[in-house]
């Protein structure tokens, strides 16, 4: 479904991606783990065209999307829950969801809204509250719901568990599983919490210094000595 090959990208003079190859097949949950500054978030953002790739190729459903503007990439069915959630602070929960629905047909809106409210009742309760007043966990939920409003086929999630209490974090991982299974959304997940991410994922990639250094199934990576040392133990 998503095929990234030889991807290079940079923020200013710093080359954050130095030739990355990643594949995500339809229906999978794929996790990307790695240390801070490895280039994980940059990879997700570059897939969406912000920043634009310096070289390499990104294909979505066999179509080259490397040079498309961000809003067109998103309209093909890729949604992102970015690092830091980036909820619109001065807009209500409902307005955040309405913006999320921009790529979808208007006629779906009411049904989609009922669907995300059923998944996340807290959002219905707070629908007229502004995004900036929500707690961290609520903002995370809103960011996921907002991405789902676009009816994506591929959902890119950047550190959905960051800064959340353990119980909330557990719930977020359950939700991700649920979205993948019941709504048939393919998921590409970036996580620092390698243990949870790899347990959830069908396959995983390990990234370091702008390159993919290891790949395998979730179970393989969990058992790998190097991964255990670097990302699981003492972390």
């Amino acid at each position: 479904m998503l095929k990234v090959s030889g991807l290079r990208a940079a923020y200013g003079p710093v080359e954050a991606l130095q030739g990355v190859d990643v594949d995500v097949d339809a229906g999978e949950i794929v996790a990307l783990i790695g240390a801070n500054g490895a280039g994980k978030s940059t990879l997700l953002m570059t897939i969406c065209g912000a920043p634009r790739a310096r070289s390499g190729r990104i294909e979505f459903d066999g179509r080259d999307i490397t040079r498309l503007p961000t809003f067109e990439i998103v309209r093909l069915g890729i949604a992102q829950v970015p690092e830091g959630r980036r909820v619109f602070p001065h807009m209500t929960v409902l307005e955040n969801l309405q913006i999320g629905a921009t790529p979808a047909e208007d006629s779906y809106f009411d049904d989609d809204l009922d669907r995300v409210f059923a998944m996340f009742p807290i959002l219905e309760e707070r629908r007229h509250q502004s995004g900036g007043t929500l707690s961290g966990g609520e903002q995370q939920v809103l960011a996921i719901a907002r991405a789902l409003m676009s009816r994506p086929r591929l959902l890119l999630l950047d550190e959905p568990s960051l800064g959340l209490a353990p119980l909330v974090m557990k719930r977020i991982f359950e939700i991700i599983k649920e979205i993948n299974e019941s709504q048939e959304v393919t998921i590409f997940l970036v996580e620092q919490n390698a243990y949870h991410a790899l347990r959830l994922a069908d396959r995983g990639y390990v990234m370091a210094n702008g390159r993919i250094v290891l790949k395998g199934t979730g179970a393989e990576l969990l058992a790998d000595e190097g991964v255990r040392k670097a990302y699981l133990e003492g972390g």
């Binding site: 912000a50 503007p69 998103v74 949604a79 970015p82 980036r86 001065h90």
Partner: protein
């Protein structure tokens, strides 16, 4: 008291015009964080187009005032909107993503270019216009001073209030308005959610220009003259109004415009007319010292 009332009426009229121009500054700043210094020229062009249209309509024999006004307003708004769109496309969009200073300099260049352009095409002399909306009535008479309320003043204030109300609802309720606000708060994120950011920015310029065109038409009707240099001072005043109200805030621009109009008129009436601009800018300095975000500006929200 009567004198005071008269100044109040004059101040509100002038403030309405500043407020309409200020909206263009505040919208563009809100969305791309730059001061569009060419915006005053856009207003001046709106005024020129109005004079040309009124004259042409007079030649065509269309003299029924409401119809003539409607035609002039529509034509001025459309043409000026095209100017606004073009300025953004030529002078600002290619510079997006470069340093903050580059589009600012480009804006000043654009402002000088448009001013000279109009001067060459229309000449440097002041262009007069026959009064279109004449008359008015005496509101009250006290101590031998008659408070005069012109129909033109009623027209200006009424139209401004209607436009600002419509515009506020438009920004608050419609998809386009929502996209404007989303881009204002986080442009990258809006793009990630499928909002066409470039088009949204273009629309901010187009809408700001259309409102400035209305201000241009009003000024022509109110003062009966137009000149290629009017955009500079009015632009700076409206910019001051936008900063005073809190740049980036729509109600702030409206309030700021009103205040600048009132300050200017009252200062001229009670103190010296030569110092009216000094008074307006002094208030600006004071507000910025004690409330850097302006009267209605929101403090920058910390992004986590």
């Amino acid at each position: 008291m009567a004198y005071f009332l008269q100044q109040l009426i004059n101040g509100i009229t002038l403030g309405a015009i500043y407020g309409l121009i200020a909206i263009g500054y505040t919208m563009v700043y809100g969305i791309i964080g730059m001061i569009n210094f060419a915006h005053g020229e856009i207003y001046m062009i709106g005024a020129f187009i109005s004079v040309i249209c009124f004259t042409a309509l007079g030649l065509l024999g269309i003299t029924w005032v409401p119809l003539a006004l409607l035609i002039v307003l529509v034509i001025a708004m459309v043409f000026t909107a095209v100017y606004g769109w073009t300025v953004e496309r030529i002078a600002y969009r290619p510079l997006r993503g470069s340093s903050r200073l580059a589009p600012l300099i480009s804006a000043i260049g654009m402002s000088i270019f448009l001013q000279n352009d109009v001067q060459l095409l229309q000449g440097a002399r002041i262009k007069p216009l026959q009064p279109v909306i004449e008359g008015g009535f005496i509101l009250t008479e006290m101590d031998g001073f008659a408070v005069h309320l012109g129909y033109i003043q009623i027209f200006i204030v009424f139209l401004t209030v209607v436009l600002m109300a419509l515009f506020s609802v438009f920004i608050a309720r419609t998809d386009i308005g929502r996209a404007q606000r989303a881009c204002e708060q986080d442009r990258t994120m809006a793009g990630l959610l499928g909002v066409n950011v470039d088009r949204t920015i273009s629309l901010a310029f187009v809408m700001g220009a259309a409102l400035a065109a209305v201000a241009g038409t009003m000024v022509v009707l109110y003062y009966g003259v137009v000149h290629f240099y009017i955009g500079f001072l009015a632009g700076i005043k409206a910019f001051t109004a936008a900063v005073l109200g809190g740049i980036g805030s729509l109600p702030g621009a409206m309030l700021g415009g009103l205040l600048i109009g009132l300050i200017e008129v009252f200062w001229s009436a009670y103190f010296t007319i030569e110092y009216k601009d000094v008074a307006a800018y002094s208030i600006l300095v004071l507000v910025l010292i004690f409330r850097p975000t302006g009267l209605l500006g929101k403090p920058e929200v910390e992004k986590v």
